[in-house]
């Protein structure tokens, strides 16, 4: 049964190869081939999952060593797979949500002539992502890591005829590279410290390494996670990544790839547990990002960018939870899975809305769509309730647990983190309600587009509807399923370890307070956007609003500090090169030239002058000889 693990990766990889190399003759049915590869992979994943269920806890992790990639003495790079409880969760999420989004894309991309290529990229992404979560060593994980980066780049820039999409793809790639460097440095550190980069040996030997090394590895892993998961300070690419087709946003930039950072931290829990400094940095990054993303989400009028801000914020929750240590890992993963459901559902809903509105993304031009798109409204609404943490829905179970864990961190830090998480929850409720109200309630605000086509909002085809329904079911039920009898906690504990936090506030208190702040957020949002009409043109807004519309000036910051700094550094170096080094070189040349020019005058062509030189030389020789004898 373990031999099936490589098949998980192989199926979508084969699908990608066939679709990308197969050419035009596959155009007619290629998308179904993609769906088939993805679904088959999901089927294998399910089979492996049930096989794992049937075994005892100790027997559950499965390994399959395929071959040795680089067989060099002292450097053994293996192609090996590891399917444990953590991986299988990811496998099911990736292949499950992935299959649904494949299906959705069949409808969404129906009118795109490059649909086959799109499915090829999606399959490539699935393969890379599965490789990432199934690898049994960091080097192979790195291969998957780069693979998803590549797929993300290709898919963000899928509509490459739009300059904004091409730029966004490049931006995502570049920012991701910064994080990738962190991962590669972390791997090099591991190799130099432990002599290996396989999970088992590294985690086993982690306690032998010095504190400084562990902190270094942890911080580098955190940098990698920041890049991939769009955490502050490497968050700037995610908003622009919404230039890609909506299914891509749903799959890659909401449900799966951006959570790879959380996976990395959780997978490396053995290292993080021994490096408190790295953990502290992780919770700080998470807390800052969850507020940052939430604030950005409040100000965006572009529905996808508002959701992107939300994604950032929710991943901030996960990273924070992962940084909390054993009390948080499980809840980070749990929130990751539930988030995968409801955020994918929300994105698909947004895609459905855009599909019906001639690809309009500005929420100020929506309004009152609930009667035109009832199915979208319902599924989107369930996702909305899930994300704000409405009691009973999945977000409630996962997010409340994270807030509770934050308080349980203890001390002042715990209070600060807990309050940040609470504020985040309130703001989440605010901006999600805003999205909901602006899109589905109020009066119709849509206008004819530039060519005079009046949009005719309509429900999407079934291929799009079914995934939305399935995901909304997941949004509603997943949380309860996981929380029931602590099944998820028990499932993951063998891998990540788990400790019950000792929160200063009781579980019920946290839930109550959380519900209160959520209600407050919803209320404020309703007061601002539900009770009064939404203006078609955005008001000027406060300073914070304007900054948030510009992604809290992150691009400006990057431009001024990094680009400007880089430019100035370059100019300085050029100046140094031109004036300093070239100056020295040219100065030497000029000195030699000038000296030669003056020395040349000694060569005056008069033989008597030369004779004088000779005679002078003889004089010196005689003098030297006599002096030497005298001495």
């Amino acid at each position: 049964m373990d031999n099936l693990i490589p098949v998980l990766v192989g199926l979508p990889l084969a699908g990608a190869a066939v679709l990308l190399l197969g050419g035009r003759r596959l155009d007619r049915f290629g998308h179904w081939l993609g769906v088939l590869a993805s679904t088959a992979s999901f089927g294998v994943g399910l089979a492996l999952f049930f096989d794992m269920l049937s075994r005892s806890t100790a027997q559950r992790p499965a390994f399959d060593h395929l071959f040795t990639w680089v067989p060099v003495e002292g450097f053994q790079a293996q192609i090996g797979f590891q399917l444990d409880q953590l991986s299988v969760v990811f496998v099911l999420l990736i292949t499950g949500v992935g299959s649904l989004i494949h299906l959705y894309s069949v409808g969404y991309m129906a009118h795109d002539e490059r649909r086959r290529r799109f499915f090829g990229y999606l399959n490539l992404f699935l393969a890379a992502m599965l490789l990432l979560v199934l690898a049994d060593n960091y080097l192979l994980l790195y291969v998957g890591w780069e693979g998803v980066g590549l797929a993300s780049y290709l898919l963000i820039g899928f509509w490459q005829h739009k300059p904004s999409a091409a730029t966004a793809a490049k931006k995502a790639f570049l920012v991701n590279r910064v994080g990738d460097i962190g991962l590669s440095i972390a791997i090099m550190l591991m190799f130099s410290t432990f002599g290996t980069f396989a999970f088992g040996p590294v985690f086993g030997a982690a306690h032998t390494a010095s504190q400084g090394t562990l902190t270094g590895i942890g911080l580098m892993l955190l940098l990698a996670a920041c890049g991939k998961s769009a955490q502050v300070p490497l968050q700037s690419w995610l908003g622009d990544a919404m230039e890609g087709p909506t299914p891509v946003s749903a799959l890659i930039h909401a449900a799966t790839m951006v959570t790879a950072g959380v996976y990395l931290i959780t997978r490396s829990s053995a290292i993080f547990n021994l490096a408190p400094t790295a953990q502290l940095a992780t919770v700080c990054v998470g807390a800052v990002t969850l507020l940052f993303g939430a604030i950005v989400g409040c100000a965006k009028d572009d529905i996808k960018k508002a959701l992107a801000g939300s994604t950032m914020s929710q991943i901030g929750y996960m990273v924070m939870a992962a940084g909390l240590g054993p009390i948080g890992y499980v809840f980070a993963i749990m929130h990751l899975v539930t988030h995968g459901f409801f955020k994918a559902g929300l994105f698909l809903g947004a895609g459905s809305v855009m599909h019906g509105m001639n690809d309009e993304v500005d929420m100020r031009k929506y309004g009152g769509l609930r009667s035109y798109m009832p199915l979208t409204f319902v599924t989107f609404g369930l996702g909305y309730l899930a994300i704000i943490g409405f009691p009973g829905l999945s977000g409630f179970f996962s997010k409340d647990k994270i807030i509770e864990a934050a308080f349980a961190h203890g001390g002042t830090e715990g209070w600060i983190l807990g309050c940040a998480a609470l504020v985040g929850a309130a703001v989440t409720a605010f901006y999600m309600t805003r999205v909901m109200l602006m899109t589905f309630f109020g009066e119709k605000r849509w206008q004819p587009d530039a060519e005079g086509h009046e949009p005719h909002p309509h429900e999407s085809p079934k291929t799009m509807g079914i995934p939305m329904v399935v995901l909304s079911i997941g949004s509603v039920g997943a949380g309860a399923l996981f929380a029931w009898n602590s099944s998820f906690v028990n499932w993951l504990t063998p891998v990540t370890g788990h400790e019950e936090g000792h929160s200063p506030l009781s579980s019920w208190t946290v839930s109550g307070v959380t519900f209160a702040v959520i209600a407050l957020g919803v209320l404020v949002s309703w007061l601002m956007y539900g009770r009064q009409p939404v203006p078609a043109t955005p008001p000027v807004g406060s300073l914070l609003t304007r900054a948030a519309r510009r992604d809290l000036l992150q691009d400006d910051f990057n431009h001024v500090v990094l680009v400007g700094g880089g430019t100035h550094l370059t100019r300085f170096l050029v100046y140094l090169d031109a004036k300093g080094f070239d100056g020295v070189v040219n100065g030497i040349a000029a000195a030699v030239g000038g000296t030669s020019g003056r020395m040349r005058k000694l060569q005056n062509g008069y033989v008597r002058s030369y004779a004088l030189s000779m005679f002078g030389g003889a004089l010196v020789l005689v003098a030297t000889t006599l002096l030497m004898r005298a001495v």
């Binding site: 040349r600 060569q603 005056n604 062509g605 008069y606 033989v607 008597r608 004779a611 004088l612 005679f615």
Partner: protein, 99 residues
């Protein structure tokens, strides 16, 4: 009298000859100065022969004379041929060997 005086005389004549080479411009006089230097060295060689009590110094002086004769032959030929082309015997007029 100490025969060392011959050496002083040789040194003096050699110096005068060398200075003459540097000062005079007429190529023929220049050659004469060179001859004077050679003669001075011959005197020194003869004196050394006397000092050591063997004839080797005189032999070398003899060879010096022969070589000087050869040198004069070639040198004067050069002077004549330079004079033919440049109508001058001054060594300062042949100053083209420069940059």
């Amino acid at each position: 009298m100490n025969p060392v005086n011959y050496l002083y005389l040789a040194a003096l004549l050699f110096t005068i000859g060398a200075t003459g080479v540097l000062v005079r411009r007429n190529a023929i006089v220049l050659f004469m100065c060179v001859e004077l230097m050679l003669n001075a060295s011959n005197l020194a060689l003869v004196t050394f022969s006397r000092l050591h009590g063997n004839l080797d110094g005189q032999i070398i002086a003899f060879f010096t004379m022969v070589v000087a004769a050869a040198e004069v032959v070639v040198g004067l030929a050069i002077i004549v041929s330079v004079f033919r082309t440049r109508h001058s015997a001054s060594v300062d007029d042949t100053n083209l060997m420069k940059l």
